[in-house]
């Protein structure tokens, strides 16, 4: 049994197969513990924890607008999180979702503003989707191909490409794509109406959410029911077994990175066409990085990603309320979010590993 000494007298041992019930209970318990721990901190800061939690929930889910805004926030996290999960399934550590998101946004914007500015919606939106998939996919292809052909670490290359993508986007919005009507402020002109994604009633919930849900279902089917999904699973769990079975490893690495990037690119398109209606600075407040947390907490499961993206959105949207309604310092919300994530990840660790006391301490 593999074991590592951690503290004197204790060892961390891998649990061979955590049971479903244990997994479920630990997740629950972690959440509760996080709330209790956060509550203690809040109480020490002189706040009533119950009021704080109520306020967060009311903000995120207390009315239709709250729910809608939570779903708006869920959308990019879900799409990018799915993208990351696809790559992680194959143990490809794609840290480049942020850059892939920007590339998707750039390609989609370019399509709408310059390529086919007068196209009707039924042409425009699909064209933008395809453009975003190509853009994001391209940004996934580069680290994927470097990994497959030259063995370059995709962690480093995908991370570096983030900066390239973001700075390229900055260049466009400050330079050639800048709206001439904007008094020199950065940002492209507003997209033509046909490029705006349909919204749900008066809320800001847009078609992007549907893209995310469709992508989740598709990926679920792909992982569970298709040969390709099976191959990805085998390559992720045991690349040597994949080689042994004669699976085309290099090709799959590249294709999976392209798919991963394409999904993140779709997240970028959906932010541009669904929310901002222009390419601008600060398109993403780090969705591509949060997506890593989404994928990981979801244990790379597509439906898990839906849930986790939603949970993170609840925390963000609810977190706003702490200052808006209660006047708490803005740092409280991220602290609570961090606490909850910490406990969830910690609980996850505990279901897979355990700490055992080693007898015989003198």
């Amino acid at each position: 049994m593999a074991s590592v000494p951690l503290l004197r007298g204790y060892r961390i041992e891998r649990v061979p197969a955590p049971s479903r019930l244990a997994t479920a209970l630990v997740s629950l318990l972690s959440l509760l513990l996080a709330l209790v721990f956060g509550g203690i901190v809040l109480a020490l800061a002189g706040e009533n924890p119950l009021t704080v939690y109520q306020t967060m929930l009311r903000g995120a889910l207390g009315d239709w607008n709250g729910v809608a805004e939570t779903l708006v926030k869920t959308t990019p996290l879900l799409l990018a999180g799915l993208g990351v999960a696809v790559a992680f399934r194959m143990q490809l550590w794609n840290i480049g979702a942020e850059g892939q998101l920007y590339l998707g946004a750039i390609f989609a914007t370019g399509t709408a503003l310059f390529l086919i500015p007068t196209a009707p919606g039924w042409v425009m939106v699909p064209a933008m989707i395809v453009a975003a998939l190509i853009g994001g996919g391209l940004w996934g292809f580069i680290p994927g191909a470097l990994r497959a052909w030259f063995g370059a670490s995709e962690i480093i290359t995908s991370l570096m490409l983030n900066y390239v993508a973001i700075l390229f986007s900055e260049y466009l919005v400050h330079g050639p794509w800048r709206d001439p009507q904007a008094y020199g402020f950065p940002g492209t002109p507003t997209l033509p109406d046909a490029a705006w994604l349909a919204r749900w009633g008066t809320t800001r919930v847009h078609l992007g959410l549907l893209f995310g849900l469709i992508a989740a279902v598709t990926l679920w089917v792909m992982f569970r029911r298709t040969r390709w999904g099976y191959e990805i699973g085998v390559m992720g769990e045991n690349p040597r077994a994949a080689h042994y079975a004669g699976m085309p490893t290099k090709r799959t690495i590249i294709l999976v990175m392209v798919l991963s990037g394409a999904l993140a690119g779709l997240a970028g398109m959906s932010e541009v066409a669904g929310i901002g209606h222009q390419l601008q600075r600060n398109l993403s407040p780090g969705y591509g990085y949060t997506a890593i947390i989404v994928a990981w907490l979801a244990r790379l499961h597509p439906f898990g990603a839906v849930l986790v993206a939603f949970l993170l959105a609840v925390l963000t949207v609810g977190g706003d309320q702490l200052q808006m309604s209660l006047g708490l310092p803005a740092a409280i919300a991220p602290m609570l979010q961090g606490t909850i994530l910490f406990f969830l990840l910690g609980g996850d660790l505990l279901t897979r590993y355990r700490l055992t006391r080693v007898l015989g301490v003198g």
Partner: protein, 515 residues
């Protein structure tokens, strides 16, 4: 050691074990895989702490928090995988474990002392030699030397002969006897009954975490020991390894032919040189050799997992030189790889996923891009029941199965399509005796039904029991091919050590005299 109990979760590895070893004796600890031998010795060496029970040395209770504690009490262990730093010299490796002074390593002093120790115990180790220059047997002696230097008086060996050639094993056994004669207490774990009978003064048998008997070689025989180990009588294999009845009919046409095959190994050096081999239908060709002499690469070359640099590989009359692995498999080649969990199976996935690894891409298991769920389930269930795989269900993670059941599943999968050629590498390594029997039985059945088998093993008994002919590999070359029937293990051993066939017969007399 009294009343030692150690649990890993629900598994009781040691159940109130009482174990005694005396000064000046060689004590063998035998048992099936998973009987708890290694756990017990790891507790003795301070690697694990027992859940209950005590350890006494000369009647004084001791407690170990770490291997270092154990060493300070004079207990040292030689593991199967040596803990040596290759680029360092022997003396430097010894100093690594010492940590008495951080500034002055005092290497000259250490080298002097090591040389003395080596001399006194006849280990023949040069303290200034670099580890990478040493053979496996020599490295093992470095481990022994290190323990002696650190003051160990109780020496524990975990399956010490598993990695050695027969000659090296003989030499080791001589060393062990010598140490015991000088008053050391030597404990060694083994499952090789011949060796145990030869070397031990005292034999303890562990079964399912309990000591079931302690005896001496002159009070027992191999059959009794085997029965004690497994709790039942065994097939003829253990008692008469070389007299397995053999099918006398002529084997059929050539299924596998290697001509002048060369290949480059993991380290970029030639691993196979000009190998000519042929296996015919209904024939089993055994490949003997000490680990690392090209066996792994041979299996990979045949199964399409490694590129051939020279020569040709022909399978069933088709040129399969450097064809992709998938195509080789489709041509009817089954592959039982040497390390099932690392290569042939996926520990983190369920049994279904493991069962379909070969067939997933073809109907009926798949249709178009999709897997046929129902067919996959039936296929898996059939494999589980046909091969008597003990598992809670097809949804269970493969990792949770015992080694034997993992291997049975793999074997079942590989043999499902009535293969024409079976490449089996260490098919029973790490598998208990019960499963070993089942696996051997299956391989015999395949041979009887006309499959050609390339059997690579380091277990000579296994090779002799299953093969029609045995080829010996040394340094990537075929040293000789002999009929298994009537083969002399000593001669095979010499071939494995790189001594050519004619020389081997000359040295025969001397070797026999040494034994």
């Amino acid at each position: 050691m009294r009343g030692i109990t150690k649990r890993f979760g629900p598994v009781v590895a040691n159940d109130h074990v009482d174990f005694e070893a005396a000064w000046g004796e060689v004590h063998a600890l035998v048992g099936e895989n998973g009987a708890g031998k290694s756990t017990l010795m790891s507790i003795l060496a301070g690697l694990y702490r027992p859940d209950s029970g005590t350890i006494e040395i000369d009647g004084t209770p001791v407690r170990f928090r770490s291997p270092r504690d154990a060493i300070e009490h004079g207990i040292g262990m030689v593991y199967q995988h040596f803990m040596l730093v290759e680029p360092f010299t022997v003396a430097e490796n010894v100093v690594l474990g010492e940590r008495r002074s951080t500034v002055d390593l005092g290497l000259p002093r250490v080298e002097r002392e090591l040389a003395e120790l080596s001399e006194r115990y006849g280990l023949g180790v040069d303290p200034k030699a670099h580890i990478w220059q040493l053979s496996v047997g020599e490295q093992q002696r470095v481990e022994i030397l290190r323990l002696l230097y650190l003051g160990a008086r109780i020496l524990v060996f975990d399956e010490p002969t598993a990695v050695l050639t027969p000659q090296e094993a003989t030499s080791l056994i001589r060393t062990l006897r010598g140490l015991a004669a000088q008053g050391f207490s030597v404990i060694f774990i083994s499952h090789k009954l011949d060796e145990v009978m030869e070397v031990a003064d005292c034999i303890s048998i562990l079964r399912r975490g309990q000591i079931v008997a302690t005896t001496a070689p002159n009070e027992t025989d191999r059959r009794t020991l085997a029965r004690l180990m497994v709790g039942r009588e065994l097939a003829a294999l253990v008692e008469h390894p070389a007299v397995e009845p053999r099918d006398e009919r002529e084997p059929g046409e050539t299924v596998l032919a290697l001509r002048g095959v060369g290949a480059i190994g993991e380290k970029g050096l030639p691993a196979l040189r000009d190998v000519d081999l042929a296996v015919r239908a209904g024939e089993t060709l055994g490949i003997a050799g000490v680990a690392g002499n090209g066996q792994s690469e041979l299996a990979e070359v045949v199964t399409g997992l490694r590129r051939v640099t020279n020569g040709t590989v022909t399978i069933a009359g088709r040129d399969m030189t450097n064809r992709p692995a998938a195509e080789v498999a489709r041509a009817g080649v089954a592959h039982i790889p040497e390390d099932r969990l690392a290569t042939g199976l996926i520990g983190g996935m369920d049994l279904s996923a493991n069962a379909i690894l070969r067939e997933y891409g073809r109907p009926p298991l798949s249709s178009g891009p999709f897997l046929a769920g129902q067919q996959v389930n039936t296929f898996t269930d059939r494999l589980i029941s046909d091969h008597d795989v003990k598992a809670p269900g097809r949804w269970a993670k493969l990792r949770t199965l015992s080694g034997g059941n993992q291997q049975k599943l793999l074997l079942g999968r590989e043999l499902a399509g009535s293969p024409r050629l079976i490449v089996a590498v260490h098919p029973t390594r790490g598998v208990d005796i019960g499963a070993t029997e089942a696996i051997h039985e299956e391989l015999r059945r395949q041979r009887a039904s006309g499959a050609a088998t390339l059997l690579i093993s380091e277990d000579l008994d296994e090779l002799l029991a299953l093969s029609d002919r045995i080829a010996v590999l040394f340094d990537g070359r075929v040293m000789g091919v002999l009929p298994a029937r009537g083969a002399d293990p000593e001669q095979i051993g010499l071939l494995m050590a790189g001594v050519a066939a004619d020389a081997a017969s000359q040295t025969e007399t001397r070797s026999a005299a040494d034994g």
